[in-house]
Symmetry: C2
C-alpha cells in the first residue's frame, strides 16, 4: 500500500491542498499530550475525500473517463468525485445521495456539475441504486471507501503528517467505512512502525467490539439503517471488506468512542477558540482528546518508553456542516 500512497501523492501534488497542521497550547493543556490538527476541513471541497476521489479517477483509461463515473455518498465523497471529475476536464459524474443529506452538501455536489440522484437513507439503497446506474450506463463505480485507489489517496494524509512530524507517536482518524484509516495506517506504519493509529467512532458503531473479535461484523440491528449520530459523515456501521484487513493489521485495539454531546462541545471549542469550522465527524478526535481517551491510550502499551510528551495528530476530516447545525452548537 505504501507504494500506491506515494504514487497518489505525486498525482495529487499540484491538485489537492497540502493542508496546514495547527497546534493549540490550550488543547494540549486539556488533552495531556501534544495535539497536531491536520486540517482537511481546509482541503478542496471541504473534506479529505478529494484525495481519494481524484486518485481513483486518475487511474481510469481515456475510454472510461469518456463514459464517466458514478458513486454513492452521504455528501463529502459525492462532492469530491464531482469536483475531481470537473478538475479532470469534465468527466461526466452521477452522485447517488441519501434523501436525508444536508442540503448544503447536495447543492455543492450539483455546483461541481455532477448529476444528483436521490435514494433511501440506507446502505442497501445506496449500493443498489449506484450499481444499477453503473450497469445501465457503463459508468465506472467509484465507491466511497471500498477501493484501493480511494484508500491510497486518503493515505497521503499519513505521508504529509510524518514528513512534517517525523517522531509522531499517534494518529487519530474518524472512521466510517474505513477507507481513510486503512490508507493512513498502512502508509504511516510502513514509514514509522512505532506510530500508532487510532479510530474514533460515534456511539453505536461498536468498532471496538469488532476489532476485539478480529472479525468484520455487521451488527444486524444497525447494519442497513445508518447510525443515529450528529456525525452525518460517519454513519456507516461496518468497515468495508477492502479496508478491513489493513485495519486489522495496523489499527490500534483501542477505539475512541464519543457521543453527540461531546461532539457538539468539541465543535463549539473549534469555532470559538481555534477559529475553525469543523463538521461533527471531525470533532470526534478533538472530543476524544478532551475527555482524556487519547492521553490514556498513547501513554499505555508499547512499554511506555521515553517520558517526553507524546505527539498525536488528530485528523480534522472535514468542515461541511449544515449552517443550522453549527448555529445550534454555538448557542
Amino acid at each position: 500500500m505504501l507504494g500506491r500512497v506515494q504514487h497518489a501523492a505525486k498525482l495529487l501534488k499540484d491538485v489537492s491542498h497540502r493542508t496546514p497542521i495547527f497546534t493549540s497550547r490550550t488543547v494540549d493543556a486539556i488533552a495531556g499530550c501534544q495535539i497536531f490538527f491536520k486540517c482537511e476541513n481546509l482541503q478542496r471541497t471541504g473534506s479529505f475525500k478529494f484525495r481519494g476521489a481524484f486518485n481513483a479517477l486518475s487511474q481510469l483509461t481515456d475510454g472510461e473517463r469518456e463514459k464517466g463515473v458514478v458513486t454513492h455518498s452521504s455528501g463529502n465523497h459525492g462532492q469530491a468525485v464531482a469536483a475531481a471529475a470537473q478538475a479532470m476536464g469534465g468527466v461526466p459524474a452521477v452522485v447517488v445521495v441519501p434523501k436525508d443529506t444536508p442540503q448544503v452538501k447536495v447543492d455543492a455536489i450539483a455546483g461541481y456539475g455532477a448529476e444528483v440522484v436521490l435514494c433511501e437513507p440506507s446502505q442497501k439503497s445506496r449500493t443498489e441504486t449506484s450499481e444499477d446506474i453503473a450497469e445501465r450506463s457503463g459508468k465506472i463505480l467509484i465507491p466511497p471507501y471500498n477501493h484501493p485507489d480511494v484508500m491510497a489517496g486518503q493515505g497521503t494524509i499519513g505521508l504529509e503528517l510524518l514528513q512534517e512530524i517525523p517522531d509522531l507517536d499517534g494518529i487519530v482518524v474518524p472512521t466510517s467505512g474505513g477507507g481513510m484509516i486503512a490508507g493512513i495506517a498502512a502508509a504511516a506504519r510502513s514509514i514509522r512502525p512505532e506510530c500508532r493509529v487510532f479510530a474514533t467512532e460515534p456511539t453505536g458503531k461498536r468498532l471496538q467490539e469488532s476489532i476485539a473479535m478480529g472479525q468484520r461484523v455487521a451488527f444486524p440491528d444497525i447494519a442497513d439503517a445508518m447510525l443515529d449520530t450528529i456525525a452525518d459523515a460517519i454513519r456507516t456501521q461496518p468497515i468495508g471488506d477492502v479496508p478491513w484487513p489493513l485495519v486489522l493489521e495496523h489499527v490500534d485495539e483501542t477505539v475512541f468512542t464519543v457521543d453527540d454531546d461531546q461532539i457538539r462541545e468539541a465543535m463549539h471549542f473549534a469555532a470559538t477558540r481555534l477559529k475553525l469550522v469543523i463538521e461533527p465527524a471531525a470533532a470526534t478526535g478533538l472530543a476524544a482528546a478532551f475527555d482524556g481517551q487519547i492521553a490514556a491510550a498513547i501513554s499505555s502499551g508499547n512499554g511506555g518508553g521515553s517520558s517526553r510528551t507524546k505527539k498525536v495528530a488528530v485528523v480534522l476530516c472535514g468542515g461541511n456542516v449544515d449552517p443550522a447545525v453549527l448555529a445550534s452548537v454555538l448557542q
Copy 2:
C-alpha cells in the same frame, strides 16, 4: 518605520504565529481578482493585536516590566496585552474594557491573567480610566494603536505578505484607530512602492472624507460615542494622531465602506465555504471583494499597466466573535 518593523519581526519570530495565507477559487471568481487571505484570526489570542502588543512590551526596561502595563481595549488589544505580558514571564497587566464588550473577550483577557477594569463605552472614558490607573500605579500605558512600537508590530503582517507574494498589487486592511494599516502600509510600500494599501471601514466612519480632506477629522457627532456597527473591533471613528501621517502618506485615497448586512453575508461565506471563523471587522475586506469594490479600485489608477490578474491580500484581522453573533449570522 521599515527598520522598526523588521526589528519587530525578529522579536516576534519565535513568539507569534506566522499565519497562513489561503486562497479560494470561488472567491476569486466572484471578486474578479486573485485574493490572498492573511489569517490573523489564527494568530495567538485570535487577532493580529498580539504582534503589536508583544513588540511594545519587548521595548520596556526591566524596571518598567516590574511595575507592569495598563491598556484600554474593546477586547482584542486587551487580550493581546494580557497574553504578551504572560508570555514575557508574568508582567502585571491591567486592561480597561468598555462595559458593552462581548463576554467571550472579557473572559479571555482574565484567562491570560490580567486584571480587568470596566469603563463606559466611550473613547473618553477609556482614555481617562487607563491614564488614571497609569498615573496612580506607575504602570506603563500601552495604547491600542497610537504608539510607534504597536504600529511596527502590526506592520510585520506586511513583511510576511510580501515575502510570500512578492508581486502583490494591493493589501486591504480593516481600519479603526489606524495602527495596523499605518504599520503595514509604511513597511509594504518601502519594500514595494507599487503595492497599494486600502482601508476598509464600517458605514459611518467617514474615513474616505477625512483622507480626501487631507485632515484627521474627528466628526463631532460620533467622535466620543463609538460607531454603531456589528464590527465591534473597529468602532473607533478618528484615526490616531500617531498613525495619521503614515496613513496620509501611504494609504490609497479609495476607502472601502461596507454595511452590517454585507459583513454578515461575508461572515456566513467564511464559515460555510472557507471553514474559517472570522469576526465582523475581518469580514469587511471579504465584503468589499464580493461587491466589486476591490476589483474596481485595483484595476483603476496607476496607469493600469499589465493585464495580468491583480493580486490582492485581504487581512482577516481576527476571529474573536461572540458565539451568539456567529450563530445569528448562520441562520
